[in-house]
């Protein structure tokens, strides 16, 4: 229908529109327009593909049926999903991209002539390599994301699963993938292709099981990156610039997010990937624990403190998401604002289970985004604030990260909550956070512990205000 050159130009246009889609996210004002560009880019890419293939047989009907079925499922999920379940959703979506990449690679392998790659058993060498990379990375993305999804959903325990010789086994499997690709190129054997895919599924699974629940922000970002590289691999196979551009964009996006998350925890990427964090320290801290005095209070005390404060900083964490306390929190803030208390929110980069998780939840609860600040923006304000209200966060406020070189979280950037005149710490018990260490903050003179469910406590405070 249309020439290869013309369709290549259209693919380039949709690639550019995808770049603009990401560019739009630099501020909330331009973001919706960006998303719109992304949608246009996708429509162009799909339409051009139909015209370029130019096959209007009955097969087309099936293509539309499957397109609509998938689209319907996707739309349904998008409207039904609660904002607290965003990490699971994104992990689930990554797995689908990975699997789609595997399927496309398989089709290209069994029917290479459709893609101008040669004939079965005689596929061009470069294409075969690209195809193998696309399939292998896609398979890793799929099984890795499935594990991440299960861990986030709580179907699988978030605790790291480790065993002896794990790293050696993984290294061997990774080497065998490279060796297999080599022999696959040499022999064009379809059996080797299937084995390659099978092993890649296995390694994706093995790579993610040793990583603990609270490292999920890194894992999700990393899988995001993988899904991009898989798409790029397929893009090279199909000689499609839209796919190559998108793959590169998504790949680098995921890599940057992983980097930001690792920095937020002051851990190297390899330290996270090798996994097992949080398992070893747990036992240590339990032994050396001594009973230290803690001040605890109730909702009335908290309401009194906040009512008489001139500025309050809220520090939300994963616990807020679990308790679904964001709406109650916003109501509490509204009540405080009526009493002329200045309120702002402080978000640590790794609060929650994915990058930006807390921001979305607060946005859902109608918190204006210009009241929400990142760590670097707000950390100096704690010294001037009267009350810090820590709700569902723990390790990210722990002052030992600044003082104790022995601590596993030493060097991690933390919110300087302890500099506030008083700290209200909503928590169910004194138990340690994810890093498995005691939080020094609990025992400070200016800390008042509020032992309760985050949502219930916040609601009670509203009543007392």
């Amino acid at each position: 229908m249309i020439s290869a050159n013309l369709s290549a130009i259209f693919y380039l246009i949709s690639g550019v529109l995808f770049i603009l889609a990401l560019r739009g996210l630099s501020s909330p004002e331009t973001s919706r327009q960006g998303n719109f560009f992304g949608i246009i880019g996708m429509i162009i890419a799909i339409t051009v593909t139909f015209l370029a293939v130019g096959n209007f047989s009955t097969g087309l009907i099936y293509v539309f049926i499957f397109l609509l079925v998938g689209g319907g499922i996707g739309a349904f999920i998008a409207y039904k999903i609660p904002m607290t379940a965003m990490p699971e959703l994104v992990a689930g979506f990554h797995s689908l991209v990975g699997l789609a990449a595997v399927f496309v690679a398989i089709s290209a392998f069994i029917n290479p002539s459709a893609f101008n790659l040669g004939s079965p058993g005689n596929i061009k060498l470069a294409s075969l390599i690209e195809m193998s990379i696309g399939a292998a990375v896609g398979a890793i993305t799929f099984s890795g994301s499935v594990i991440a999804f299960l861990k986030l959903q709580g179907i699988m325990s978030g605790a790291p699963i480790t065993f002896k010789g794990q790293h050696i086994l993984n290294a061997l499997i990774l080497i065998s993938i490279i060796v297999l690709t080599y022999f696959l190129c040499a022999t064009q054997s379809s059996n080797l292709f299937w084995i390659l895919i099978g092993i890649s599924f296995l390694i994706g699974f093995l790579l993610i099981i040793p990583i603990g629940g609270a490292d999920m922000p890194v894992v999700i970002s990393m899988l995001n990156s993988y899904s991009g590289w898989a798409a790029a691999g397929i893009g090279f196979t199909l000689e499609n610039s839209a796919l190559i551009i998108t793959g590169a964009l998504v790949g680098s996006s995921g890599a940057i997010l992983s980097y930001i998350m690792c920095k937020g925890m002051n851990r190297s990427f390899f330290n996270v990937i090798l996994g097992g964090f949080g398992a070893t320290e747990q036992s240590k801290s339990n032994q050396g624990k001594e009973q230290k005095p803690v001040k605890s209070g109730n909702a009335d005390d908290a309401a009194f403190l906040m009512k008489n404060a001139s500025s309050v900083i809220i520090v939300p964490g994963y616990g807020m998401a679990v308790a679904q306390a964001q709406h109650a929190l916003r109501e509490m803030v509204d009540a405080l604002k009526k009493l002329d208390v200045k309120v702002s929110y402080a978000i640590h980069p790794v609060a929650g289970r994915m990058p930006g998780h807390m921001n979305v939840l607060l946005a859902e609860a109608n918190v204006p985004y210009d009241e929400v600040f990142e760590l670097e923006e707000i950390n100096n304000d704690f010294a001037n604030a009267d009350v810090a209200y820590v709700i569902g966060a723990n390790d990210v406020t722990n002052p030992v990260a600044k003082t104790d070189p022995q601590s596993p979280i030493y060097g991690m950037p933390v919110l300087d909550v302890e500099k506030c005149k008083s700290v209200l710490f909503v928590k169910r018990s004194l138990s340690a956070g994810y890093a498995g260490i005691d939080n020094d903050l609990f025992y400070r003179d200016n800390t008042l512990m509020l032992f309760a469910d985050a949502k219930k406590m916040t609601e009670e405070i509203i009543k007392s205000l």
Binding site: N55, S57, I81, F236, A248, L249
Partner: protein, 103 residues
């Protein structure tokens, strides 16, 4: 000597990585979750490969093995495209509303 077209694709790829690098660093941290969902949606442009596979029927057989894999891939990618863009839209709408309510 003619340059292999692969080199041109590689150039696009490398340059796009750099574009991605700078564009993503400029994304505000509060929009990192929508960033992930939208990258998810756009990486599903892999659907073009799936459509080619599905429509490349061998001798009129619309259910050849490669077409069937194509159909599966179309379904998966379509879930992602619709789901990804719509959920991003939904999130971004929340960011927008706040500003207006506040004023």
């Amino acid at each position: 000597m003619e340059i292999d077209p692969f080199i041109f694709r590689l150039s696009i790829f490398i340059l796009s990585i750099f574009v991605g690098y700078y564009v993503v660093w400029s994304v505000t941290p509060s929009l990192h979750t929508p960033l992930m969902s939208v990258t998810n949606a756009i990486s599903s442009v892999i659907i073009v490969g799936a459509i080619i596979a599905a429509l490349a029927n061998i001798e009129g057989n619309i259910f050849s093995k490669s077409s069937v894999f194509g159909y599966f891939a179309i379904t998966l990618a379509a879930i992602n495209i619709f789901g990804g863009f719509l959920v991003t839209q939904r999130m971004l709408a929340m960011y927008k509303k706040k500003k207006r309510d506040k004023k």
